[in-house]
Symmetry: D3
Subunit: 196 residues, 6 copies
C-alpha cells in the first residue's frame, strides 16, 4: 500500500514518510486476514512514527495478556463509543463484538444501550464503570473501584478496564475531529452468527 | 528505580517485569533533569510494554515535530484536563504551561477557565476546539474544522490538535480511575517566572 | 393470537379484553407480510382500546398522507430514539430505514450518529430539528421553524416532523419504562440491501 | 366552530377536511361545559383523522379506567411538562390539578418543583419516576420499576404511569414545535379553591 | 414579631439576638402594607446582622435607582428562579411580576418558560442573558455583553442585570438548602389584574 | 484611592458618588495589610451603597461568628467557584485556602477537584453538599441536610454552609458577567507555605 493522499478522513494529510517494512507487512496481513486494512490504520499511515505508537498501544491493550477477555475489551470499546456517538468506532468495534461473541444482538445492544442486554453482574459492573468513567471522570472514586472488586475484578483488571476506556475516549475524539469513515466491509460482518 | 508495589495510584499493581535498560536510563534522566520521575511513568512501570507504548505516544505527540509549539500542546492538555477536572494532569501540565510560557498567570487561566485569558485568535480557536471536542465529540463537524483553518492551522495541525485532545481524554480517565497522585514537586514549579 | 400473559415486556399485564376481529385480522396480516407481529403491538394487546388508539395514531403518522416520505419519517424515528438510547425503537426502526432506503449504512448512521451521514440540506435540517426538539424542547423558537422553511418544508411538513418527533419521544419512554424487547427478526433484516 | 386558518399555533395550517359530526358535537360540549374549546383540539382540527387519534388516546389515558386517579394523572402531566418547560401544558394541566385537588398550591408546586410539595410516599415515588423517565429514559431499569411496586403500584398502574409520561413527552414537543398558545381562560381557573 | 423557633424553614434556628427597633418597624410596615412579613425575612430574623445585610442588598438591588424598571428586575428574578426551580422565589416573585405588570399571564410565562412570552427585543435579550448567566456562567464573554448593548442597555444596566441574576442565584440556593416555604398569601395575589 | 474609571472589569462604570470615610479607611487598611485593594471591592466602588451592602454581607459571612472555621468557609468558596469555573474567585479564594491552611496543595485541590483531597468525613460531606447545591439546587432535599447533621454539623452550621454557597454563586456570576480580573498579587501568595 502507498499512503498517498489520505481519503478516509476529512483532513488532507500528505504522506510524511514511507511505512517501515514491518508496517507494510502488517498491512498486507490485514488484507489477507480481514480482506482490508482498517481505515484507522490508513488514517495514521501518513506518519509511520504515529502509526507505530498507535498500533503498539492498541495491540497491547486489545490483544495482549489481560484478565479481561478480548470480547470484554471490545464490549467496553463499544459502550464508550456509544456514549460519545462515534460512528467509526461503533461500526468497527460493534462488528468485533458480533464476531467474537457469535451473538449479533449483543453487538447491537452494546451500540444502542448496554442496559438492554441480559448481562452477568460482572459485565454490568464493568460497563457501568466504563459509562461513568466516560461521562463523568471527575466523579469516580473509591466506591466505583470497589464495585469492580466486588464482582471479582483484580487490581490489574481494573487498570485494564480503565486503559481500554481511556483509549477509546482518545480514538473517538480523533475519529470525530477527522470525520473518519469506517470500511464498508464492517457493516455486513458477522450479522448472522448465532450465539453458542 | 525498582517498580515494586506501586504507591502512586489507588490500585495495588505488582511489577510484572523489569524495566528495560533504556527505560531505566530514561527514568534516571528524569531524576537528573527534573529531580524526579513523573508519577504517571511510575504508575505504568508495573508493565514495561505498557510503559513503552505510553511513553512512545506521549513523546511523539508532545515533543515531536509539529506545527504546534510545545507550549500550545501543553495549553491544550490543560484545557482538556480542566473540562474533565483531572487533578493529576492539571497539576503536572499546569506546571508545564507556567514553565514554557514564563507566565504563571497563563498556567492558572488554562486550569481555571481559558476564556479568562487574553488569547490570540489562533489560541482562542484552538482551545475552543479542544473544549468542544472534549465535551461533545459527537457534534463536531466541518464547521469546527473550518474555524481552525480560518485562523491559519494546517491540516496536519488539526490532526495534531485532535491527537493531543484525544491523548489527554485518555490520560485523564486513567488518572481518574486509578486516583493517580501528582509529584509534590510540581506545585511550586515556575510560580515566579515572569512572562517575556 | 391470544394475548395471555405478556412476555415481551417486564410488566406482567393480564389481558383485559379480547382483541376485536379487526385487530385479530391486523395481527394476522402482520404475520403474513412481516412474518411476525411487532412486539410493541403485543405489548399493547392486553387492552384493545389502548391498542387501537396507539395503532390509529401510528398508522396515520407513519403511513398516512404527508409531504414527508415514509423513509424520512423513519429516519426521524431513529434519530429521536438514538438521543433517547431506546433499544426497542432503534432495532425496529433502524431495520425500517435499511429496508426503505436499500442502504444498510444509512440505517447504521441514523442509529449511531446522523451527523456522520452524507445528508442533503433538507435532511440535515430535518434531523437537526428532530435532535433539538428531543433534547431541548423548551428552547425551540421561531428560528428553528424558519430553518425548516428555508430548506423547503411546508407548514404541514413542519407539523408532521413535530408529530413524529413527539410520537417517538412517547414510544421511547413506554419502551424504556416497560423494558420492551424487540422481535429477533429485525436484526438480520435488510442487512445486505444495496442503495439504488 | 369552523377550523379555518388556525391561529393558536405558529404554523399556518389550512383545514384539510370538515370535522365529523361527532367531533362537532364534542367541541360544542367543550364550549358548554368549559366555556371554550381547548386550543390543543383547535390545533389538531385542521385534520379530523389526526384530531380523532389524538382525542382517542387522550381520553383513554386521562379519563379512562385506571388504578391512578384523574388527579394523579394530571400531576404526572404537569411534572413532565415542568421538566420540558412546556408553557401550553403547564397552563392547561396546572389548572386541572388546581381544580381536581381543590388545592391551588398543589398546582403551583407541580409546575414549579414537585419536590417542594408535602407528598405521600406513593406520590413522591410516582413523580420521581415521571421525572426520571422524562429526563433520562435510557437509564430506567428494574430498580425503578421496583420502587413503584414498593409503594403499592400494580403492574397495570406502572404501565399507566409510563403511558401518561410518554403522552406528555409527545404533547410537550408538539406544543413547543408549533408554539401552541393556551386559552386565556385557564389562568384564573380554580385559583381560590381550598383543599378539602 | 418575636423570632423564636423558626418554622418557615426546615432548619431549627434559635433566635440569636433581638431585632433592632428599625427592623421591628420594617416588619410592622410589611404587615401593614402587604398583610404579612415575607417568610424570607422571618427566616433571616434569627440573626439581626444577617437580616440587615440581606435586606440592605435586596432593597438597593430591587428598589434602588437603576436604569431597569422594578418590573424588569422582578422578571429577571423569576427567570433565574425558573432555571433553578426554586419554589419560594417563583411563588413570591411570580406574584410581584403579576402585580407590577398587571398581567397575570406574564407572571406565568416568566415562571414556566420566558420564551413563550411576546417580549420586546430588549426584554428577550435581557432574559436570554439572565438564563445563560445562570446556567453557564463560565461561558459568558464579550459577545454576551455586546448583545445587551445592542438593544440599548448601558454599562450600568448590564451591571444591574448581572447583580440581580447573581442575587437570585444566591437566594435560590439558600431557599433550596433550607426548604424555605412561601407565605400562602402570594398564591392568590394579583391573579385577576388586567394588563394596561 | 479614587474610584474613577473602573479598569478591573469589562464594563465602563463611572463613579456615582465618593466613598464614605469609613470605606476610604477600609481600602487603606487593605493596602496596609494585604498590599492591595482586592479588585472586587474596586469593582463595586463606583457606588458606595452597593459596595457597603456587598462588604457587609461578605464580612459577616466569611469573617463573622460561625461554627465553620474561616478555612472551611474559604474551601466552600473555592469549590463553588470551581463548579462555575470563575477565574476571579478561584484566584482570590484559592490563595486564601493556601494561606489559611498553610497547605498549598489543598488550595490546588479545591480549585481542581476537591474529591482528589484527603478530606475528613466532615469536609467531604460539606463539600459534596456545596457541589450539589451549586449544580442542582432543585434536587436538594431532607436527605442532603441529614447527611450534614450525620457528620456533626448543627442547624446553624447548615445555614452558614448554604449562605456561603449562595454568596459565591452570586459573586461568580457578577465576576463572569463583568469579566472581573483578579489582582496579580494573589498568584504568588502562600505558594511555599507548608502544612502544620
Amino acid at each position: 500500500m502507498t499512503s498517498d493522499k489520505n481519503s478516509v478522513i476529512a483532513l488532507e494529510l500528505e504522506s510524511e514518510d514511507a511505512l517501515t517494512p514491518a508496517q507494510e507487512a502488517y498491512f498486507a496481513k490485514c488484507e489477507e486476514k480481514l480482506g482490508f486494512v482498517p481505515n484507522v490504520l490508513k488514517a495514521y499511515a501518513f506518519n509511520p512514527v504515529k502509526l507505530q505508537a498507535f498500533a503498539d498501544m492498541y495491540n497491547d491493550l486489545m490483544l495482549g495478556p489481560s484478565g479481561l477477555s478480548k470480547l470484554e475489551r471490545e464490549m467496553i470499546a463499544v459502550v464508550v463509543s456509544s456514549v460519545n456517538s462515534c460512528y467509526y468506532c461503533l461500526v468497527a468495534h460493534g462488528a468485533a463484538v458480533r464476531r467474537l461473541s457469535g451473538d449479533p444482538e449483543l453487538g447491537e445492544q452494546m451500540v444502542m444501550n448496554y442496559r438492554a442486554a441480559a448481562l452477568s453482574a460482572r459485565h454490568r459492573a464493568m460497563l457501568d464503570f466504563a459509562q461513568a468513567l466516560t461521562s463523568s471522570p471527575q466523579a469516580i472514586d473509591g466506591g466505583d473501584r470497589q464495585a469492580l472488586r466486588d464482582v471479582g475484578f483484580s487490581e490489574r483488571d481494573i487498570w485494564d478496564i480503565a486503559a481500554v476506556v481511556g483509549f477509546f475516549n482518545m480514538s473517538n475524539r480523533i475519529a470525530a475531529a477527522s470525520d473518519m469513515r469506517p470500511n464498508d466491509d464492517y457493516h455486513a460482518m458477522a450479522r448472522d452468527a448465532k450465539p453458542s
